[in-house]
Symmetry: D2
Subunit: 484 residues, 4 copies
């Protein structure tokens, strides 16, 4: 659970990571370059740090650094990351903390050789497992779940015949959300948790090259053809014998994060068979049906709000327009205005098209409201630009519950919807009206599909959640270590 107060998108919940891996035994694809392109496509899932670990006949080379993919890698570095396979990772930007150590992939040695791990998600029993291992004498050099996972793999590997078997045993012990890639001297293993909280898909280049990625947009970026999604609970391995399913998936517990469609994933990705763009447009259409408004135009907050606005326009017949534009050069941390200018800061990232909205009644689509601060600033910006009315439509239900499965939707005291009614929120935001997508409409957003996690809206957690109160205050995990 983290707060993104200092980042460019502080008003939105954040996905914590993206993973990308490739197994290319015949050398037609350079794994590190494919990772580079894949990570560029997944950059929206994390901008704090990134890394690539490659494997050349068992010799691991890796490079990881703070910052964007374009900042962290040079042609010289990519050239040195040679080999026949590679895994890679982008990590979401947090404020402060011993973050340098937390960059992934994690690369280490254990009894059976070298191991590299890249992980997207959040283990709900990481703390317990960490404490248990510390009580057995283990030491921890990072605070990432990958280190816990590595320990379990290392221990299980001592009692079984192969690393893939150790991974299966590990998957049985860890709880929560994980879409992860594990690279051993000879194999590349992908595993998705039994609920399939986070997406993970499989692609192919030519005959023998296999690609795993958080989203299909990364397959497109590296020229891979989409094969299928990794199933919840499935463990798949690419190795000397080609692609093998090590453990079958099972959709019975499937609970894919619905917010992947609403906001997290890229609009051109297709997650578990459903187009993100079409899901967002569907939300807009459903909103138009449930919550119509008289207006001159429909506009959206880029990017996901624009998709919903196109849907709302289609359903309502009210023309779609650009009303808010985004400065794509301010996508990440930038120098903040002085305190007195803070209220105006949204205009550095977003700007209203005054020529368009002046004297007009505007329906404004956005994907969610967390604290409300930014929404209020956008409404004010439109009013300052001359908009006569601003009717805010949110393409998701109100956030009422925290997320424990790998996103940073905050605790209740920070969620505006936990404290105020819709009418009160509309007033606080300065909007002429406000409607959220209803829970029943949310169910229709993705027709013919089931198995989504909507816990942040409903509190119906599909898997155990950590018992935060039981954590000892003296747990070393809570003690800050600051890398300067």
């Amino acid at each position: 659970m983290r707060f993104a107060a200092e980042t460019g998108d502080s008003y939105k919940p954040h996905e914590e990571c993206g993973v990308f891996g490739i197994y290319s035994p015949d050398g037609t694809v350079q794994p590190a370059y494919a990772c580079y392109n894949g990570l560029l496509a997944l950059q929206h899932r994390g901008q704090e740090s990134c890394g690539i670990a490659s494997n050349n006949q068992g010799v691991i080379s890796y490079s990881k650094d703070m910052g964007l993919v374009t900042e962290a890698f040079t042609p010289e570095i990519l050239e040195k990351l040679d080999g026949q396979m590679a895994i890679s990772h982008v990590r979401y930007s947090t404020a402060g903390g011993s973050v340098r150590e937390n960059a992934q992939p994690l690369v280490l040695r254990y009894a059976k050789g070298v191991l590299a791990i890249a992980h997207n998600g959040n283990l709900t029993n990481a703390r317990e497992m960490r404490e248990e291992m510390q009580q057995a004498g283990s030491i921890f050099q990072t605070t990432i779940d990958s280190e816990v996972i590595a320990y379990i793999i290392a221990r299980e590997r001592l009692h079984c015949r192969s690393v893939e078997e150790a991974v299966v045993r590990t998957v049985d012990q860890i709880r929560g959300a994980f879409s992860m890639l594990i690279m051993s001297p000879q194999k590349l293993i992908a595993a998705r948790d039994p609920h399939g909280f986070r997406p993970l898909c499989l692609g192919r280049i030519g005959e023998n090259t296999w690609v795993f990625a958080s989203e299909t947009c990364a397959l497109d970026a590296c020229g891979a053809e989409f094969v299928r999604d990794i199933e919840p609970g499935e463990v798949v391995m690419a190795g000397p014998n080609g692609l093998q399913v090590i453990r079958k998936g099972d959709s019975s517990k499937k609970a894919l994060c619905i917010f992947e469609y609403i906001y997290f994933s890229r609009t051109d990705s297709v997650i578990d068979g459903v187009s993100v763009y079409q899901a967002r447009k569907a939300a807009g259409r459903l909103l138009a049906r449930e919550n119509p408004a008289e207006a001159d135009m429909v506009i959206g907050v880029p990017e996901s709000g624009v998709d919903a606005a196109i849907g709302y326009s289609e359903e309502s017949g009210i023309p779609f327009q650009k009303g808010v534009v985004r400065n794509s050069y301010v996508g990440r941390t930038f120098i903040k205005p002085t305190q007195e200018e803070r209220a105006r800061s949204v205009r550095i990232k977003l700007n209203a098209l005054a020529s368009e909205v002046k004297d007009k009644r505007v329906i404004l689509l956005d994907d969610s409201i967390v604290r409300g601060t930014t929404s209020a600033r956008i409404v004010k910006m439109l009013k300052d630009a001359g908009a006569r009315e601003v009717h805010l439509r949110i393409s998701s239900p109100p956030f009422l519950w925290p997320c424990y499965y790998g996103t940073d939707i905050p605790s209740k005291e920070d969620l505006i919807a936990c404290k105020y009614s819709e009418e009160e929120i509309a007033r606080l935001l300065g909007a002429d009206s406000l409607s959220y997508l209803s829970l029943s409409a949310l169910e229709q957003m993705i027709p013919g599909k089931k198995g989504f996690c909507n816990a942040c809206f409903t509190g119906n957690y599909p898997a155990e959640i950590p018992d935060l109160d039981s954590y000892s205050k003296l747990d070393p995990y809570t003690q800050p270590i600051k890398r300067i």
Copy 2:
């Protein structure tokens, strides 16, 4: 004239610069922070290098560096750029060359003190003036026009009573395109060439703080209120006596670059009284009228093509959709794919929404075609994604002539429209049909306004062009100096 072969947007012509200046005698606004926000808003006009020069009671501090504004400046640097006024600059990314020296503002000493200059545009007689001055013994440490301008100001200043008078005399001697800011120990002067090729506008914060910027979006970003555009030929000064018009403007020769509307400027800017967004939509509507097509959807190449697509959709009634999305993290130089993958490289920057375009007839709006390479790749990408038909509509006439006024539209041998007919180009690009905006439609794009430069389409150059053939091959200006 430069070619952008290595940059993220190599398929588009490039504006060469953006300028931003602020005069805030009472200290309510910190000039360097305002410049930072203004440059962020103007970043689309140049990503190679950027710089800020501030002036604290005559003491000049400056910082300039390669890269984006977010990369070049830190809070520590901004804090040191103290003072009551500042000018700043973003510069477009070129490939190779002694570029570090060419970053602006240029800061120097001359007989009457210190001087800082930031310049957008291209002087058509820079070479002659440079040669003339070299023949008088001058030395040149950069290849930017600002150094030529500085020399002329320095010489004129010896024979007149004030720096503003020297600037007026300088304006009379230089030819071509310039929107420039000059900072002397006590004054901030803005000048726009008599044709007004490049935009330049005036804003205000509170009573006494004056802002000059290439585009209005930069006024919005720093909280300034738009006052008016600087007129062609006008010289304006902010100084101890407030704002003064030093030389009156004159619209008789006005020839604003029409491509500022079509592509260069930000969609939320208003240039010389006309909304960029509305001009782009108008182009789309005019195209729909002139060049209709039967199709299932209208889509645009982000960003300017999307605006035109909205207009085309409005006029034609064919639904607007997102069909191509852009990866905003690949806006600038990134590591290119290997040679064999080059053809696929467009997919790293742009991606088709296969779920949307599959089996559909698509009208694709783009703003221009230079060499055609990228257009062909985008058409292919849509066809690969399953589009049944792709009807390409260009929201500007064909490029037939090079530009000498500050953009990098290349010479004829590189312009596809100089070599092939529309039908041939359509075939080369793989499009099912292709239409450009007609010249007559271009004239209607901005109703009720006159005075635009359309030389790149018509060859009607409103001002002298440099006599390139006359340049001696031995001119030292042509000799390469490489800063490693």
Copy 3:
């Protein structure tokens, strides 16, 4: 065991590390600044990387980086390393390898909180202990002994009442050479191995501030008064109750590395009661007695050879002169000449004073010969400068055995003295005569003291040595991981 082929001093054996720690509960001394000065004084013991970990009421902050102390630390970093105690480390420069991870101090969490470790020396049973722990499921992220030590402390701490007790138990399990500092949330512990291979001393500032350092020169640099050496086998703790001896030292097995006097330590340090400078001069005097030569002057290879030369001159009456000077700006890695110029490369680091040695008979003092390459180059340089005769005198016996206790004296196949007689070596080096210090003279070098390790000369290893042949080739420890 490492080879220093790429460093500025490739011809000399290298000490692997220096440690410095300070406990200052009353805040009169800023621990990070004291570490900075202490590390500057110990920089000759390691130039690859350096680090400081500070402790402010249990909150650990640390910073470590590649390069020299002056490169790795800024005032901003030191300011953030706040607290009441700190430990720090300089590490010797190796060529290649996953070196970034190997920088010290190592900082980590375990069951009882946070821990930081800085270590000088080499454990002879690290491999076995590592393998044993890996067989129990441990993972390793570095290849430094400190990680092994941390694991043992972590496990022992589970079964005893205090971290100091865990350190004592750890000291009982590890073998080889270690002078180390351990920082827990409240305590700073220093431990020296039972043989006392590496130096470690105790100093004091004012009443309550305690300092531990590899050499006394670091006490001088931070203004501490020398108190005493830490005894072999001793464990000392500075904590809330002041300075406590946790385990008594015992000199019975003392085997201080004699090469600390001959070359490793700084000439102004006093190790275990003996001045390094006086030991070096004594070696020179003994050489003069054992191996006189007719000559016009005595000169030394800087720095340790100069000290010996002064002694040789005193004893022989032959005048001491500067004959070889060192370029102090080439102390660490620099760009090597091309292959053909390699033979001349010594002249970049060292130069002969031709005006002094021309036509003269010269006695040249140096501290040791490893491979002989550099000695040959120095002799040739003197001959090229016109020296009529060069009589080489080495202030130590010939290297015949590798070192396992924390230096990089190489294996026998690289030691020239293992392959050739003195006469042969003299001929190979181009010297007119060559003499080493005899073993019996070595014993007189430090009068009245016993307990030195001279294994590199005699093969009399005072402690167990690792059974290198038993190492499995498949041990993961041997598998390379390259951080790019």
Copy 4:
């Protein structure tokens, strides 16, 4: 004139620069690598910034940066600095100022092509010439004399047939101290001022490769054979026709800076036929004759004081010892201790050998006293280390006059010898006695040679000095421009 308050050697006057150039038409020597080695050897003459400009068939490539040679250059950079000739420069470290722009060589274009200049010395009429050129309209982007020189060459070149003739004409106009290298598209020109204030010598590699360097130690470092010194007033050119004397030298006005021997040059250099080491020893011997003292040992402050101490010991018969050692890792800027520790800061750079000086009467040789602060600290350090008596002997006369010829000996108010008698200074420094070298002894220091500048001791300036009082306070040259 500058003050070195922040540098590692703040207590010594500083040479401002070193130059190195090479002309190698047949490609056997890589000019950039030779420059690299030459600059390493000249690093003691300047540590602020360094640069190399190479020339490949008229195409100039250059690289310059702040910091040491080992920091500023990488193999990749050297590889790109290709060509058949190169000039290079090291610059002395100043505190603050727009220093980045002042790095040399200066590379520029003028009417006849490209030009690169590297300069050691100080023009006494730079200000007047700059003002005159500014009054003619020139602009200045740096504050270095090289820019003034470039302007004069550029103007003269318009009226003569060759660049070498322009250089000769330039040499006739500039006053003061200059040893400079000028590189044109085809030629490498070396010029030394008529007084020969700064050293400059000529070397040769093989048949056709010519080297120019500030000191002979740089010839040694790049494998060049010493040919001869460049004569005062001489202009020499290496070009397509080999080496040519363009203008003959003339020793009649020779006034080589005597402080080059005492302190500035490296001990292994030979300047104008005299060994620096032997000059320093001679000073020590003369001091011993003029100013004997009863003592147990003679010691020196490294490095030049050690040379003088050896001479003093030879003459007096009192044994030479190491009594003060220098930390070679603290040669340049390092983080200073806090204010209260300032007095102790000398111990970070220098340390006393307490074991040697304890209870002893010590004669301490140093080369000069500027403000006295550091001398006092060294005396105190020796006393704290137990020295019974400290007799300070200075191997030069007292500084009484500022230098205008390229060093930073400060103005009178900062020179302790201008304010106090020898006895008072001894008392202020805490020394038991103090003697300077007498002026008559100084004359004997270099037997058989004449023509030295000793103005800093005598006020007998051999050339005009700038009329500082006449400088207008409004001169733009005095207005600060700060590059952040």
